[in-house]
């Protein structure tokens, strides 16, 4: 005689840690929307009219809201992903392993560099 409680599908609501996990997994939802918008964007590059129509779509307030969410989601994803990376692929130089903080800082500097590059490139540097 024994019993085994069944895990409910709402298990992740029970604890702060699990809610943070589900939030991390949910960052891909606004990402999917952004990907579709960008796909439409590259598609619209075939003609100037299509491009203007795409810009009109991108400027709709609710679209900007979702894309802002996608931006925030990408930062939250980066925060979690950069912390996990040194644990999955620890780098050893000789006998010493590279400290996690160094790897995390290096990854953030990558993200910031790409942002600077994009701002320069599409803000007139093209």
């Amino acid at each position: 005689m024994a019993y085994k409680p069944n895990l409910q599908r709402t298990w992740w609501l029970q604890h702060r840690f699990f809610r943070a996990y589900m939030l991390r997994e949910a960052t891909v939802l606004p990402l999917v929307f952004l990907l579709c918008s960008l796909l439409a964007g590259v598609y619209s590059l075939t003609s100037a009219d299509a491009f203007i129509a795409w810009q009109g779509f991108m400027a709709k307030p609710w679209v900007i809201v979702i894309h802002t969410l996608a931006l925030l989601a990408s930062f939250y994803h980066a925060l979690t992903f950069f912390q996990l990376f040194p644990r999955v692929m620890p780098i050893r130089l000789g006998d010493k392993s590279v400290p996690a903080v160094v790897m995390i800082a290096a990854q953030w500097s990558g993200t910031l560099t790409v942002i600077a590059l994009f701002l320069w490139l599409f803000g007139g540097g093209l």
Binding site: M1, A2, Y3, K4, P5, L7, W11, W12, Q14, H15, F17, F18, Y21, E25, L84, R87, V88, M89, P90, D95
Partner: protein, 240 residues
């Protein structure tokens, strides 16, 4: 000082269903959760069942859910819970009686990954030499005491009891990383399956609750890299 402690009881001979029972227990700064349980058993109700042995976070037998989080009773203190204190059996396991769970559900997985040195016998009376750098590679994963807290913390194990799970995979990884060991080819087929490393989604709570700082989540995910390599090699070589 007294504390109301609720325990999730299960007495299959008397009640078909588990039920909560409250006890009033005296405590001070030094009372561990296990100490409180022992007080209950000795002074209040001798029918309460729970496992323990060493009282010093070594034997790994005193795992319970304390306010919903897997804890070692001997390493956790009543003073940490100013409000309510609810003790339940470890989550995701079959409960046999009160706080006692069927640990073989974890031990079967542990056995499957052969968590011991597999090495050709060296010359008699010759030690297996290992440098400090070689030791450092696996040392962290060798601290596991098989308490099973990480299984109670792992929703993937809760969703799929066939998942080999954090503790067993951490130990498999520990022996795979050991320079003296030659058993990796025997362990990888278990880790390579869907129920091996690939069931993990890096929730990471297992590493948070581990009382020995093993970081099983890191072991499982390093195991994914190893598993991917092992499967690629098998594909190109045409055998394991």
């Amino acid at each position: 000082m007294h504390k109301e402690i609720q325990i999730k009881r299960y007495l299959p001979e008397e009640h078909a269903e588990p039920f909560w029972q409250t006890f009033r227990v005296p405590y001070d700064e030094t009372t561990s959760v296990l100490g409180a349980l022992n007080y209950i058993k000795e002074e209040l109700d001798s029918t309460v069942s729970f496992r323990w042995s060493c009282r010093m976070a070594i034997c790994g037998s005193c795992g319970y859910m304390v306010n919903g989080i897997p804890k070692l009773g001997c390493k956790d203190f009543v003073r940490n819970y100013p409000a309510a204190l609810r003790i339940e059996p470890l989550a995701h396991f079959t409960v046999e009686r009160d706080l006692m769970v069927a640990m073989d559900e974890f031990l079967q997985h542990l056995e499957a990954v052969k968590p011991y040195l597999i090495a050709e016998p060296s010359e008699p009376h010759k030690p297996h030499r290992q440098t400090p750098a070689q030791l450092a590679k696996y040392k962290q994963f060798a601290n596991c005491i098989n308490c099973g807290l990480c299984y109670a913390a792992c929703p993937q194990f809760g969703l799929n009891p066939e998942f080999v799970g954090p503790g067993a995979i951490a130990l498999a990884h520990r022996y795979n990383l050991d320079s003296r060991d030659q058993g990796k080819a025997k362990r990888m087929p278990v880790l390579n399956t869907h129920d091996g490393v690939w069931s993990c989604t890096f929730v990471g709570f297992c590493s948070d609750v581990c009382p020995k700082g093993v970081d099983p989540a890191a072991a499982v995910n390093q195991g994914k890299v190893e598993s991917a390599k092992s499967m690629l090699i098998q594909m190109f070589r045409g055998g394991a």
